[in-house]
């Protein structure tokens, strides 16, 4: 895949940990790839698998979910729910013609600005390596509720 492919990545970051890690990376003036666009949710447990498929369907080449470390979720265990859902979804993604590597879940705490930078950079490089998601064959033909 050509190296100047610029992937579009949606980041679902929880309000209490990963979103704050991104704020910290900012106040610390760390530089990282501009490809991840953040959608804030209160908790990673709010991230609906349909939302992830919706992102792939609308042109995302990758989806990064960021939550608090195990035991640190602001709502006790929303991050475990996110973990279970993403594991299941990763199993299903190939059925839509989407490589499971395009979905990643990471625990990044409010103090881990450096880790946020590294994860974003690594994931962007990985998606760049995978190349664009061919939308025609990949568009998940599922009904989205609501």
């Amino acid at each position: 895949m050509s190296n100047n492919f610029n992937p579009s990545i949606v980041g679902f970051f929880c309000n209490w940990c990963t979103y704050l890690a991104a704020d910290l990376a900012g106040t610390s003036r760390m530089k990282y790839a501009p490809n991840v666009r953040v959608v804030r949710t209160m908790c990673s447990g709010r991230v609906d698998p349909q939302m992830i498929l919706w992102a792939f369907r609308h042109g995302a080449d990758g989806v990064l979910i960021g939550g608090c470390h195990p035991g640190d979720c602001h709502y006790q265990e929303g991050n475990y729910k996110a973990l279970r859902r993403s594991k299941l979804l990763r199993k299903m993604l190939p059925q839509f013609g989407i490589e499971p590597e395009r979905l990643r879940l990471e625990w990044i705490s409010a103090s881990e600005g450096e880790r946020l930078r590294d994860v974003v950079n690594e994931f962007t490089a990985e998606i760049r390596h995978l190349g664009p998601l061919h939308k025609k064959q990949a568009a998940p033909q599922m009904a989205v509720a609501a």
Binding site: S8, V10, W16, C17, Y19, L20, A22, D23, A25, G26, T27, R29, M30, K31, Y32, P34, R37, V38, V39, R40, T41, M42, C43, G45, R46, V47, D48, P49, M51, W54, A55, H58, G59, A60, G71, D72, H74, Y75, Q76, E77, G78, K81, R85, S109, A110, S111, E112, R117, V144, A145, A146
Partner: protein, 663 residues
Amino acid sequence: MKGNGNHNARIGVYVCHCGTNIAGKVDVNALAEYAGKLPGVIVSREYKYMCSDPGQELIVKDVKDLKLNRVVVASCSPHLHELTFRKTTANAGQNPYLFHMVNLREHVSWVSEDPIAATEKSKALVKAAVLRAVWHEELEPRRFPVNPNVLIVGGGIAGIHAALTLASAGKQVYLVEREPSIGGHMAQFDKTFPTLDCAACILTPKMTAVKQSSNIHLYSLSEVSEVSGFVGNFKVKVKKYPRYIDEAKCVGCGECIEECVYKEGKYPNEFDLGLGKRKPIYMSFPQAVPSIPLIDSATCIEFKSHKCPKGCVEKCGDRNAIDFTQKVEEVELEVGTIIMATGFKTFDPRRLPQYGYGKFPNVYTSLEIERLVNASGPTLGQVILRDGRRPESIGILHCIGSRDENTNKYCSRVCCMYSLKLAHLLKEKTGAHLYNFYIDMRTPGKGFEEFYKRVLDEGVSFIRGKVAEVSGWAQSPAEEGKMILRVEDTLLGIIRRIPVDMVVLSTGLEPQADQQEVRRLFNLGCSAEGWFLERHPKLAPVDTFTDGIFLAGCNQGPKDIPDTVAQAGAAAAQCMAHIDKGFVEMEPNTAWIDEELCSGCHVCIGMCPYSAIHFDTEKKVAVLNEALCKGCGSCVAACPSGSAQQNLFRDEQLFAEVEGVLV
């Protein structure tokens, strides 16, 4: 998705330059122009500082003149200014929840290298906000009353000062301390820098005031075991460990201690770091508060064999205060606000074996020296070596476990100053020759540099260099029987060997060993070094990310007593602000269930960590209790029919936002 949102949305987009913070990287003019062409956008402007008064007035005027019903501000993190702009739109007569914010500064301009990419990313985020805002609805914040009682965890100088401040304002305080007495580290010191006030003289009156205040309810030997609820309405369980002496009956005469079968202290006294001995029944130090002895069940003969003559019980007589049957008690408290004042621990120098702690008997930690120089300490203030000799030369090694890549990278802030203090006190008490080995001398504080000068003038030697090793290999008669400090004197540029009789390790400050567990219990964050995380390093230094919980003292980072006390006062003021306001307003980000759509599948019920959802067996639908919902959205993500929704994070809002970021 159902419907198309509000077709009548009239949106105003405001792009902030933040001086050059955003405008230096993002083409704000191009961005505003782009935003102006997005569907529903009536007006789009850029301005130097949106959060300034003129910036906010710009929004108010537009909302009124152009009849805007949605406002999007693209500036900094919503954690900083979301409330500011919600208020602005409210001032313009708009429901504040119709507002949405884009984080261009922390998430784009400060982290991007390429201006073109930064501008593209900004466009995507602004588009997402515009598409999302269309779906925003009018909401009302939830209001709850604030319980006026305050919980303070930790009874060091921070907890004591905060408790007294609140108590003097007439507030009820529960002070929970896990040791037998309050006082914390300060109670262990003899004198305090830079004024050399006697620590006991300034601390003891405050400790006594805690005891005497009818507004402070002290739980010693106690720990918090459970925390639930939210700002204004916390429920806390406290575990009270047995003292085996009834606090209500004991008058603190101490005669029971005299009558113990052990005529002398036999076991290491924890308060003296093992330098002194205590009996199984004891007071940790004479000024302890509560001034009530305790029995250590691990060493008391009665607990071991039930064969003790129990002189203590006999002496206590009909006061009957001694109770061998006491068990762990659990107390439930209801409070509106919480102050964390759990302090620090000192670095364990065994982790750096080159300094010989634990190997050479006359290598001490600074805290041990604090006990040795203390007039009411285990040696009554006599500084003697373990073999009873007086030291003739003493080396104080700064930065042990601070400013060190292998242990802690940070500076512990108080060690230079307390090392100067100890140099002064040790010289005064022993007449020995004192050497201070330092990397850099850090004396920023009122009267600190003057104190350094004073100690210099007293004839203490200062050697700039980090000691490499404390060894026992004498190479000359002068080194015989001494410990040898090998150090590169970086001012002279030579390696030196300095023989001394006593070594003092100025150990750094570290987070408590159980800091992580406590953090989880109270739902707090920690910095990379493990200190509790404040909400904002400059503007909200005592707030945490959990509303209603505040920080005071060294659990937030190393600091001296004056800074600790100032922070404790600030934390107390924050509690009072909540109490005097009387109510809290909470984000209306709760979930709700559309009965029409609910198929009664029960999935959401198991998802809720707060048991806020139950099943209505008559209607066969799930019902959500809004008062219990904390707004995580787990049920919404799990609901297969889309009947569970979350205010401010509705499916429509998030789906629209996702579409937007993918331009």
